[in-house]
């Protein structure tokens, strides 16, 4: 349906020939913008409804006294569905440690929560299809699972700031929301996210469309293709400071993939954008010492790089 609309708008109404550079660019832009916004609204709304069932207090209870492996896996899953803004990273971290959760399990949660980001998921789904979106989610869970296990094995409890262990957490009665409240919350949440990302989406798709229409293929292959062994590493390092632009970066990547950018490199780039962000690292410094912070960043970055190379080999 959307394709038909874009077709008729560009080729019939504007009278631009299909197959021309301008026609391709405009068509790509209109079709992708419409598709992505439709998906953003629907999926973020659904995600918000699901999230209203899993407040962190519940996550904490569900993880309870679970030990390694099962705990890490569950934490990685809960990390996705638990609502979590980076300002809450500190209280959440303290709350988990305070309830006796192992450090490694806590980190599995802390990694998966930003790593599997719903906006990135929508962008991937809309622009690459559901298989890649699913692959991205599975990868995020795997990175969180193994990252948490390694941190747990390293016995780094002494790398948590001392005051964290001294905090006694109070009991708050968190009211169970009604359906009306859940829907209200989901509506507000969707609106907030859209307000934050719409400009990145449009600019990103605009750039993507330009690349799609005008950038020659051999240019991309020369710098970021399979023959460049450092492409994945560079992509991951570039992704770290780009946090807020996940929504705008994916359309650009999509256009580059169309020009021959390997999928593993593209996925690694996206994962590093959403999983490791400078603001989150700064916030976590409040609760963990620099050494653990460096280990955490190093493990996540390495895991993403490995995933990137792995996908480049398989896909």
């Amino acid at each position: 349906m959307l394709k038909f609309l874009a077709d008729s708008l560009v080729y019939t109404l504007m009278g631009i020939q299909p197959g021309t550079r301008l026609g391709d660019t405009l068509h790509f832009f209109l079709y992708d913008t419409a598709k992505v916004f439709l998906l953003l609204i629907t999926i973020i709304f659904v995600v918000a409804i699901i999230r209203s069932f899993f407040p962190p207090e519940r996550a904490r209870k569900l993880l309870g006294h679970r030990r390694e492996y099962v705990g890490n896996f569950l934490a990685a899953l809960l990390g996705i569905v638990t609502p979590f803004c980076s300002c809450s990273a500190v209280p959440m971290f303290i709350g988990f440690i305070e309830s006796g959760l192992p450090l490694g399990v806590t980190f599995s949660f802390l990694i998966s929560s930003p790593a599997v980001n719903e906006v990135a998921l929508v962008m991937l789904w809309g622009l690459f299809g559901w298989k890649i979106a699913l692959l991205y989610t599975a990868t995020g869970i795997a990175v969180a699972f193994f990252g948490g296990i390694i941190i747990g094995k390293l016995k780094l409890e002494n790398q948590v700031e001392d005051y964290v262990y001294q905090i006694k957490m109070g009991e708050a009665e968190i009211a169970v929301p009604t359906w009306k409240e859940r829907i209200e919350y989901a509506r507000g949440y969707t609106k907030d996210i859209l307000k934050k990302v719409w400009i990145f989406v449009i600019v990103g798709i605009g750039f993507g469309a330009l690349i799609h229409g005008y950038v020659p293929m051999d240019y991309v292959l020369k710098y970021a293709g399979r023959d460049n062994p450092f492409a994945v590493i560079v992509a991951v390092l570039l992704g770290i400071p780009l946090y807020s632009n996940a929504a705008g970066t994916i359309p650009i990547i999509q256009a580059l993939v169309g020009k021959g950018l390997p999928m593993g490199t593209a996925l690694a780039f996206m994962m590093s954008i959403v999983a490791i962000s400078a603001p989150e690292i700064i916030i976590l410094r409040n609760v963990i010492k620099p050494k653990l912070l460096a280990i955490f960043t190093g493990i996540v970055a390495t895991a993403i790089i490995i995933v990137g190379y792995l996908f480049n080999i398989i896909l």
């Binding site: 009991e171 708050a172 409040n286």
Partner: protein, 75 residues
Amino acid sequence: MKIHILGSGCQNCMKLAKNAEEAAKAKGTECEVIKITDIKEIMSYGVMQTPAIVIDGKVKSVGRVLSVEEIKKLL
């Protein structure tokens, strides 16, 4: 009536505090809005998500920026 806003001082917390002040003013009752940024104190309320709003010692909402209207209903 005492309104406590729990939060590290990020954008969301400041917005919630502003909304609370506006709601308190509109309500006209003796309302005092106090911002709590100390993490130990925030945790003592049993809250893991910020911003949170506490009215007379009771946690009323966590992890959301309530609108002025919503806060008025709570007062």
